[in-house]
Subunit: 145 residues, 2 copies
Amino acid sequence: MAARGRECSIADALEVVGERWSLLALREVLLGERRFNQIAENTGASRDILAARLRKLVDAGVLEKRQYEDHPPRFEYLPTESAKALQPVLLGLMQWGDRFIRQGPPPTVYEHDCGEELRVNSVCAHCGEPIASRGLHAVRLGAVR
Amino acid sequence: MAARGRECSIADALEVVGERWSLLALREVLLGERRFNQIAENTGASRDILAARLRKLVDAGVLEKRQYEDHPPRFEYLPTESAKALQPVLLGLMQWGDRFIRQGPPPTVYEHDCGEELRVNSVCAHCGEPIASRGLHAVRLGAVR
DNA sequence: CCCATTGGGTTTGATAACACAACTCACTCG
DNA sequence: CGAGTGAGTTGTGTTATCAAACCCAATGGG
């Protein structure tokens, strides 16, 4: 698709999860939904598009499609390591939506195993300091094609 | 648009930044690009779509459009607090792309003010532990409309 | 003066993505 | 036998996206 523009892993990531419904389908799988009909209902995606998106996510290794019944054939979608690694991004997006887009209280609340309501903090893996826009700068950039 | 599906801030967030080019335009603004032509070239977006996306981001309060010259009128796009708050999400997406989608070395590298190459860690704001998929569970969910 | 260039878009016409409902297939259950 | 479930696919429109061309105001060079 987009063969132009800056070479960038954000762009690459969006090739896989950047289409409408992809991230919402992923949200449902990470919430524990595994079946096509449930994912369709909970996201609101139309069935044909959802089928295409799930196929793409499976092809990209984000989901695993597993047959859990032979007669009749029935399938479920499971999160891979790749999907689980994306969960903090989803949570970050959710928190951003809670704060800057939504009006009213957050519709979805998570609890961390420490017992408290979850709020995600993004910190530098080296020094542990929270990441702020002005505390970082790009030292190498992808070339613009 | 999507009036159906689970009530969810991820879905709300995607209404604003979920379309193709929105996040890439935001990436450029956060990298310091401010002018329409530069953003168009660096993302690869076509000019009409980019104009629509930028308008939407401005309307949603993610970017600020400022006139920096009167004759002829010239504009620049600046990141608001909302945009800056989204940067950790962008970085998370970039890191995920680096690790699970890309082959080869990361095209873009950031440095944190602590002097080290930036890697983002998502931790629980309360206990400071890294967030793993199995260390959390939803305690309240948005209703499915 | 005349022409090209820059900046910031809008218009146009073709192509691709999407939405919605209906349909299929392979069963199971009452 | 008929209804229901699960997991899609097919058919038919509508909408969005794309690339290229165009517009306008000003500025710079010959």
